[in-house]
């Protein structure tokens, strides 16, 4: 076994953005939120992720604007460091090493040079449960890496929940709630007051504190409770004469509370997914913002009070303008309790596909770390009610080209029969999404256990095989278009029903070329020919049932691999129909990389999961890593890379073509990354730091490059440059201009001159150019007009050619010299490309 130091398991995309309270910057332009091991900076207006502040090596547990400088932000992490960032430019300014895992961070403008962090209690056996609030004096030092060792405990035995600790008016006191006790510590008097509540009152309400908020100007502490009550505490500088009033609207736990900066309103949220705004001192008057989609987990208010922002349990951040209008929604990867479908990769968009919102499939771009869209599979209203059984998407499969998507939804109600629907979706080029083609209700009599498409890309017909607990497997095929319903298009129907000795089929798998279908019936693997539906052979490795079945790819396509419940990994050679090799390991998941021969096996051992990557033909594993994560891994996928990685190291070669993503027990999406890859990522962010004072905005890139190249062009003093150089980079500039979010661009008037300059090619060519542009415009119009009526087949190709690339123009000017023609062609090509881009957009 080989251990590999340079491959690491990391969070890379799809991580929680609702883990901690987001922070809105002072100018309300950016939103900072902890996301896995990095801090993400979003634009509040365009929802776009602007920066990904990387640097922490463990989960980021808190983000905070530096009270003394509103352009910098602190972040703390479980890796024991606090980092100071310039979030507008995405630069790491300083790293303070605390040395203990940090669970949350607090600061107040009235405590200069001190931050307060929550760490586990030292020297306590139950340190996993008890936490303390520690004041950290930040040393004044110019170094990048600073050790902050001047710690002093302020409060002990507090909750690790960051919402349960908050600074009071003017930083004079800090309030912290834990369990049934509220503790208020006054810094000046160095005195703490504790107030406790009874566990539950007579009416059955649970009094446990869930969150705390302090009024900015008055001495009033608002606390949220398990039973949905909000208490407003006053007079808490007295041991006995404290008093509180109770507000009750939420029916279950209040998860977050926040005062607006002026203290005129109190915001609260909970599982009801309603943002409630209470008027301070007139609590009878409240406003509601309902239907926010999912339970509210955090509420943040911008320092000017113009924006509210709520985090939701479905990994979403909603930005709300003055409690009336949802202005933006930042959606992360939706994670439910479990994933019914496997992790899949959409072959077209290369996005990750899995269960999202109830009854939906989500398409999540791993490269951009952004939810592309949700596909409503069930197409039924979801009713929020506990204990109500609803349709759920349990299986989904894509065919190799991404033209077809098959989904299975089921609903099992107590005492009622299982309801099953098999739906087939065709990809619609026009709308760029999937359209329902066929719904087969009750495709099987019992639960569907497996489903797969035939992989063969060349074959005309696509085939879907589904196996079910009713003892049958069925092959579905796209029926040839019948005469009767010609207008409806082809639909799917059952082609073949297979069974084997009345056993229950579990897994099914097509070979890479689609010529073989393997279906496992408990301990027997049957191999069928899909062309003739002939049972070719049976393979068997008693005594236990087959758990996973997988064909080898590419050069290893003669191998069929299977795992059994009796901790056996078997590899059959299909040419000899015999067992090639077998090894004893408890494989929970076996999957093949579609782009290479590699196979990955996740083995569960002693509460941890180990990963083995191997080729079926080779006895030695390519890669193995022990204890990848705790718990069992049941969902994983190989995602093809956009560009191949060139790694020469043997152990990381398997990651060159595709990346392996997997879901842990706690629904964290993890992946493997190599050192080189990480270095590359770091380099791209480092580059920003090295560049001098100018902020690394896309606009800078745009102008900076422009300037550089201009300089480069001017230096040789060549006369040709005047007409030639602006053009190629002009188009690049425009491309960037069009792709960059509008809010980061300078004003249009500023860009205009540059834009116009890019249009000016030369004195001689420009007239012809513009003429042609006019021509094209006309023809385009014509085309639009004649789109409906297909009558003149003669003119149409011409027009198409005109739009396509300007070949028509080339033939129209035969008198020019070859050089001229070449020049013109090039010029036109370039010009058209951006113009077309403009028109498209």
């Amino acid at each position: 076994m080989v251990e590999h130091g340079d491959i690491r398991v990391v969070h890379r995309g799809g991580s929680k953005i609702n883990f901690r309270k987001p922070v809105i910057t002072n100018d309300s332009r950016f939103l900072l939120c902890a996301s896995g091991e990095s801090v993400k900076v979003f634009s509040t207006s365009t929802e776009e992720c602007i920066h990904d502040l990387r640097g922490h090596t463990d989960l980021v547990t808190g983000v905070l604007i530096k009270p003394s400088n509103h352009l910098q932000a602190f972040s703390c992490s479980a890796d024991g460091t606090v980092r100071l960032w310039d979030f507008t430019d995405g630069i790491l300014i300083k790293t303070y090493v605390i040395g203990y895992p940090i669970f949350s961070i607090h600061a107040s403008p009235h405590h200069e040079g001190v931050i307060f962090v929550v760490t586990p209690m030292q020297g306590d056996k139950r340190s996993g449960e008890l936490f303390q609030l520690v004041a950290v004096h930040l040393p004044q030092s110019g170094d990048q890496l600073v050790e902050a060792r001047e710690l002093s405990a302020v409060l002990t035995g507090i909750s690790s929940n960051p919402a349960a600790t908050v600074f009071g008016r003017g930083g004079e006191y800090i309030a912290s709630a834990n369990g049934l006790q509220l503790e208020v510590y006054f810094f000046k008097k160095q005195k703490a007051y504790r107030f406790s509540l009874k566990e539950d009152n007579k009416k059955g309400g649970k009094n446990t504190f869930t969150c705390v908020a302090c009024h900015p100007n008055d001495d009033c502490i608002a606390t949220g409770h398990e039973d949905g009550k909000i208490r407003l505490w006053r007079n808490f500088n007295h041991k006995k004469e404290y008093t509180y009033s109770t507000l009750h609207w939420h029916h279950s736990a209040v998860s977050s509370l926040s005062f607006t900066p002026e203290g005129t309103n109190l915001l609260s949220g909970g599982i009801e997914s309603v943002l409630v705004q209470w008027r301070y001192n007139q609590e009878n008057q409240r406003d509601f913002l309902p239907r926010l989609g999912a339970a509210i987990t955090h509420i943040a208010v911008s320092p000017d009070g113009a924006l509210y922002c709520t985090s939701h349990s479905d990994n979403k951040i909603t930005i709300i303008q003055s409690c009336v209008k949802v202005s933006a929604v930042i959606q992360g990867l939706v994670k439910g309790e479990s994933v019914g479908t496997d992790l899949m990769i959409d072959p077209r968009s290369k996005s990750l596909v899995l269960n999202g919102k109830p009854g939906h499939l989500q398409f999540y771009s791993l490269q951009r770390d952004k939810l592309l869209y949700n596909l409503d599979i069930v197409q039924q209203e979801y009713i929020h009610e506990s204990g109500l059984q609803q349709f759920e998407v349990v299986k989904a499969a894509f065919d190799a080209s991404g033209n077809w998507l098959a989904t299975v939804e089921e609903r099992k109600q107590k005492g009622a029969e299982l309801e099953l629907n098999l739906k087939l979706w065709a990809f619609d080029e026009q709308t760029q999404s999937f359209v329902l083609n066929t719904t087969i209700s009750a495709p099987h009599e019992a639960q569907i256990t497996g489903m797969c498409f035939s992989h063969a890309t060349d074959s005309q017909t696509t085939m879907l095989v589904s196996t079910s607990k009713d003892g049958h497997f069925k092959a579905w095929q796209l029926a040839a278009q019948s005469q009767t319903d010609a207008d409806e298009g082809p639909s799917w129907s059952c082609d073949f029903v297979g069974a084997y000795h009345g056993l229950v089929p579990e897994c099914c798998s097509f070979s890479a070329d689609g010529s073989l279908l393997a279906v496992s019936f408990q301990e027997v693997v049957t191999v069928w020919s899909p062309a003739s539906w002939e049972l070719l052979t049976t393979l068997s490795q008693p005594p236990k049932a087959i758990r996973n079945l997988c064909f080898g790819r590419l050069s290893c396509s003669k191998y069929l691999l299977g795992t059994t419940d009796s901790n056996l990994l078997c590899c059959w050679n299909l040419l000899t129909c015999s067992l090639e090799w077998s090894t004893s390991m408890d494989v929970s998941l076996l999957l093949a990389d579609p782009l290479s021969e590699n196979m990955a096996a996740f083995c569960c051992q002693a509460g941890c999961t180990d990963l083995f990557v191997f080729k079926p033909s080779e006895p030695r594993p390519l890669f193995s890593q022990k204890a990848v994560c705790s718990g069992m891994v049941t969902r994983a996928v190989f995602a093809p890379r956009e560009e191949m990685l060139e790694s020469c190291e043997e152990s990381s070669q398997w990651l060159n073509r595709s990346q392996l993503y997997f879901l842990t027990q706690y629904m964290d999406l993890m992946t493997f990354t190599t050192k080189t890859e990480e270095e590359r990522l770091m380099a791209s962010s480092k580059q920003l730091v090295i560049d001098d004072s100018v902020a690394m905005t896309p606009f800078y890139l745009l102008l900076g490059k422009h300037r550089q190249q201009q300089q480069g062009g001017d230096d040789p003093q060549s006369g040709v440059s005047a007409e030639r150089t602006p053009l190629p980079q002009g188009s690049v500039a425009i491309k960037e201009l069009l792709q960059t979010p509008a809010h980061v661009l300078p004003s249009t008037s500023f860009l205009c001159s540059m834009f116009v300059q890019s249009l000016l090619i030369s004195v001689t060519d420009s007239r012809e150019e513009s003429k042609h542009a006019e021509e094209e415009m006309e023809s385009e119009k014509e085309e639009e007009d004649s789109e409906e009526e297909i009558e003149s087949s003669r003119t149409r190709p011409e027009q198409q050619a005109a739009v396509g690339g300007g070949e028509a123009a080339e033939s129209a000017a035969p008198a020019m010299t070859k050089a001229q023609v070449r020049e013109l062609r090039r010029v036109k090509k370039l010009d058209h490309s951006w113009l077309a881009g403009l028109l498209d957009s």
Binding site: N217, S245, H251, Q285
Partner: protein, 683 residues
Amino acid sequence: MGEFKVHRVRFFDYMPSAIRAMAFNSHTERLALVRADGALEIFNFADHYFQEKVIPGQDGRAVEALCWVGQRLFSAGLNGEITEYDLENLRPRYTVEAYGGPIWTIGSNKQGTLLMVGCEDGTVKMFEILKERIQFQRNLERQKGRIVSLSWHPSGTLIAAGMMDMIRIFNAETGHATHRMLVERGVGASKSREVVVWSVAFLSDYTIISGDSAGKVQIWDGLTGTLVRTHLVTKWDVLCLSVSQDESSLIAGTSEGTVVQFQFISSTVDQQEEEWVRTRTFKNHSHDVRALAHTETAVVSGGMDTQLVVRPLLDKVEKNTQESAMRKIALPHRSLVCCAKKAGLLLFQFPDHLEVWRVGESDGHGKPGDSLPVKRKPEKLIQLKGKGGDHIYSSALSPCGEWLAYSTVSSVRLYRLQYNNISITKVSKLPKDLCLGHQLCFSSDSTKLFASSRHSSVIVVALNQLECKYLHTLKPKSGSRQPVHLLCTSEDGKWLATANTDCEIHVYDLHKRKLHCTVPIYSSCPTAIAIHPTTSHLVVVHADQQIFEYSLVQKEYTEWSRKLQKQGLHSLWLERDTPVTHVTFSLKNPAHIILHDMFMFCIIDQSLPLPESKTLLYNQMTLRSLPEQERIRHSHAFKICKNFKHVMCVSLLEDHSLVVVERPLLDMMSQLPAPVRQKKFAT
């Protein structure tokens, strides 16, 4: 504890009437409370909230407001009269017509020299309080619209008056209105309705606080007449306000049954500037809270649901003590049931009528806990309507069941009953001395009637078939002016014991017709007394739950009583919050004392050891599960039965069957009118 055949009586449809007004006297710690039927009750807050005195009401006398002036108590009502009560003789002392139409409110200045009433016709009338009476002094400037509420500034110079749609401030000296503060009406449909300022409070810093029918509690500046702050408290009415003595806390009662507390606290820790902030909400009532009193440590509230609730403020009392427990006083602290032991008859006293019932009969036998088949149903024999408008104060049925007596504020009536064919005849010629009877009691052989009269004296009247004859008057030597509230005779007819609200217990020798002895005075008021039929020991239970046994022969506390005092009563016994209202004895077992309060009845077995402080007091259930030999070891003197709830009377009949009269609170609640509609979550 022995087995009894129990008559579980639930046909006493007693219904207390709604609490209408309240006044708390912080000097004497007495709470005066008036009910919708005009009955006045005095509770002693210093002595475990014991209901000391009751003055029955009158038909058609609706009291709207109460006011203490020193020790004197005044009330005013919609009949337009001001009444002063004679708390010693438990009757209205005099009534003065105000000539201003119905009176809505009454108040006095801090010095106790002037009384003012707010009338329907828009006048505020001032009365001078003289020693024996009150005298009309003058009218303040007459306003349009009724005066609903009044409050005098502590300095006595300004008066705030709540009216319809506005609050007026009067100069008390000139009588002119100086400010007129308009109160906003409610929103929506109630916009067209006038808003009633139900209550105002004038604080010493010239802040006026008002509660109105639009559900607002408003804070005004009384000097400038400007609105400072509005708290919308309820969708319905804010009916009453009460301010604590130190003016740091304010409570408001609403139609929803909630009491909302406001506190005068600084908004920031170190600042002196304070403001009124709404803090706690108490919901102890199902219906309107019509009356409130803010004592030093507690919020006292009462309303339509007839219960008096004392809710201690936890920031003012020690936590988890008896003081911090909430009290609900739902049933009167005196017996409204009289049981004729020999005849098996029950007399129920209602405010305006009496009912005589014969208990049912059963010859079945069963296991303990079984309900026996009823052979003869209980029947109502007589319903006797009270004469005149006066309500019944006290009533008694002789043990043989042949005599029935009741008293009102003005008279005593005696009736003779015959049961073979039911007839009732009034005894017409009563002795002249028998005109007042706070308590009535027959001797056990039904030959004498005892009636307590003024200054704790007792009139003895002899009864026979033909006539009733005044015998003599028994007078205590102490010269107490307080009325007798408990009266009992011994079985052998030798002793008569009286207890008055000065906590004195006098025992008279009826044969010698003179005072036999006075039991040493204990600080707490006796709530039940009884004389043992065989040993002639007097058993006294006090409001603080202490039990004393006094030997009338030796004129000293008995050995058992001393032992009990030395060892102390069990803490759980002392923590009970309802007083023992009846004591009786078992004829079979002379060592047994039977007593009851609202939630339990108890047999004290004097032959068994007293419970230690650590032993389980309520041990009947555990004893039942133990084998016979173990039981003796674990049993102690207090045998408590909690099977019955809301007990009004427990009495032992001659055939050794127990009569338990219950009045379940749920039955009482179901007779109340529907409360205001409130949106309840998930309905």
